[in-house]
Symmetry: C2
Subunit: 385 residues, 2 copies
């Protein structure tokens, strides 16, 4: 059910011809209220697509009536014409829904530089068809329409006492042809105002989506949107809501990791006993982005030396010669020197864990990543994109 | 001739059994004077191999009598035993040469975690054999003994009025199994003291080796050493010496790039009109380290969108929507929007140029890198290392 699991929402997914395959490529999610509170977080890339530039402004008043999403074109670096396309998309949806254009968010995903007249015409037509197709059980259709190289739709639902959070996501943890942007829409029938939603969303994404780092590349179009209808009539405890939201985001993040294009291992890098959470994140990310480490995992080689060489490039507080490194529960490096024989580690399962003990404090963080494979190179080189 | 092109040096390369192939794996370079001035620069990785820890101390007095280098084992993260091995290596060489151990530098390259009793015995034996084999024309042998996955030795010589600089290098621009450390030894018969050598070496490496960034991974063992014998009797103009040294370093850096393991393109990323050199370097490096960009070049896809997405992650001063990007002389992106059709770019030649015009100032920098290929993944995953 994804974005229509919570009461107060309608959604749809239609084929507007943006995808050469003829598959659905325009999704609409509408909040029927009674509340129209919304919040969103965006890519931190300075190179931002036109839908990002639009949505950043539109969300500022905390009111979001609808989200229009398209696959088949990123509408990024398409100049003033591209921004007008986004603007017209919001206007068309607003007109058909009888709301203000400034309360319609837009998300796009696909090839950078795509956003010409043909693209605009198809998107605008898709908006009309999508709004005509809106349904209270349309969440599944919507989740199909935002897929690009995803092999399966990503959906999650969390229910607590009387209220529900539902979400859909697209994107390959390991980025695919044309920058596989991560787009997420989350809806809830809990009754929370925009500042509460914003705080909960920032807190949840910081420890879930922001810690999924499949190949270190940052998209121009990433957007995670949270809408609240208040249709349950329940004002939840904010802490409880925050936990439930984080649980849902982590579920979707793990689905993204598991569907990463070309990956043969899902790698969980846990950094413990760090002097700060920021240190733990920096250390984990440095390993997740190290091509030599990632290629070694593809080759089922528990190469702890590459882990140490990667973390040695960080500014985190620790002594490189005191660190322990374990693969799948076997400590191969103790105090910066060889420990158990690497033959004791079996890296053939897809699920891989790396534990890095910095012995520098009490904080920790976990980064999710994937390995570097022949299929990754193939996916990102063989197709013109 | 490499390190024996300049007067006053002897060198050798011998097989001590560290390489399973039986190829030469220990090299010795000795300065016969009359001057014994030396300088060196080291990896900035905090995870430093034992030879780095030793050599950093040994070079501090500016006197270097000899350099001992081995392939077949990095002697990194091998604990106190590993450091003693490096110490004993310097002592053995010093004893046989009749010099102080503190004036002998040591370099190692190979798998991290390798440095046991067998390794030590072979290295010490190799030192003896290498010193026995020292010859005034031994530079070529030395350059062969430091090779790991290099397909060809890297040698360069620059001659000016009455003095010469010669050098040898090993390492794959694109790193290979076991972290293909970059080791470089440069010799000159010009008469310069250690502070002058140090200044010239830092200036030259900053714009040559430091701008070769094949896969973003930093070794634990990188070392570039410069020795001056003064045997020409000529004290060169320091500016002229600096230019000649930079020319030699650039020659060796380009040889490393051209021999990068698994690469099918040598990519020159030129960033112009930057607000500062640091900005230009940051922008160029962000592109050089972007896996999506690198995979696109492998696929002969001039994907300018991936260039903009990469530079958008930097903190450099520029407007992403004002940038021009050209591939092999064809401007595909102008003012952050599509310009010439990508079909006009032919990326089939190995030599690839990317020009990024930031329109933000008057500084520039050039970064050398390689593409991300199936062979890179194969080299770094298929072999246990």
């Amino acid at each position: 059910m994804s974005v229509t699991a919570a009461a107060g929402f309608e959604a749809s997914g239609v084929a507007a011809g943006l995808k050469s395959t003829g598959k659905p490529d325009v999704a609409v999610v509408v909040n029927r209220g009674p509340s129209k509170a919304g919040a969103a977080v965006f890519t931190s890339n300075r190179a931002k697509a036109n839908p990002i530039l639009w949505s950043q402004q539109a969300v500022q008043d905390g009111i979001v009536e609808a989200v229009v999403l398209n696959s088949g074109g990123a509408n990024c670096f398409t100049g003033a014409f591209g921004f007008q396309t986004t603007h017209q998309t919001a206007e068309r949806a607003a007109e058909l829904l009888g709301v203000s254009p400034g309360d319609v968010l837009v998300c796009s995903t696909g090839l950078i530089g795509t956003g010409d007249e043909v693209f605009r015409a198809k998107v605008l037509q898709g908006v009309g068809e999508g709004i005509a197709a809106l349904a209270a059980d349309g969440g599944d259709d919507a989740s199909l329409a935002i897929m690009t190289t995803d092999s399966v739709p990503k959906r999650a639902v969390v229910t607590r006492g009387g209220w529900t959070i539902g979400g859909m996501a697209k994107g390959a943890g390991m980025l695919a042809p044309g920058l596989a942007t991560m787009l997420v829409v989350i809806t809830t029938d809990a009754d929370l105002d925009a500042p509460a939603l914003d705080a909960a969303l920032r807190a949840a994404t910081a420890i879930t989506f922001d810690r999924l780092d499949s190949d270190g590349c940052m998209s121009t179009n990433d957007q995670v949107t949270l809408l609240a209808s208040g249709a349950s009539g329940i004002v939840p405890d904010e802490a409880e809501f925050g936990l439930a939201l984080a649980e849902l985001c982590q579920d979707l993040a793990q689905q993204l990791q598991a569907d990463a294009e070309g990956a043969s291992h899902d790698i969980t890098i846990q950094v413990v006993h760090a002097a700060s959470v920021a240190d733990a994140v920096e250390v984990g990310r440095s390993v997740a982005r190290n091509n030599l480490f990632k290629a070694a995992i593809f080759g089922n080689d528990p190469n702890w030396g590459r882990v140490l060489a990667a973390i040695g490039t960080t500014t985190a507080s620790f002594d490189p010669y005191a660190v322990d490194v374990s693969f799948n529960g076997v400590r191969l490096c103790s105090d910066g020197a060889p420990d158990r024989p690497r033959e004791e580690v079996d890296l053939t399962p897809r699920s891989t864990s790396v534990l890095i003990d910095l012995k520098a404090g009490d904080d920790e963080a976990t980064i999710l990543t994937n390995d570097l494979t022949h299929d990754y190179v193939h996916e990102n080189s063989a197709y013109s994109s």
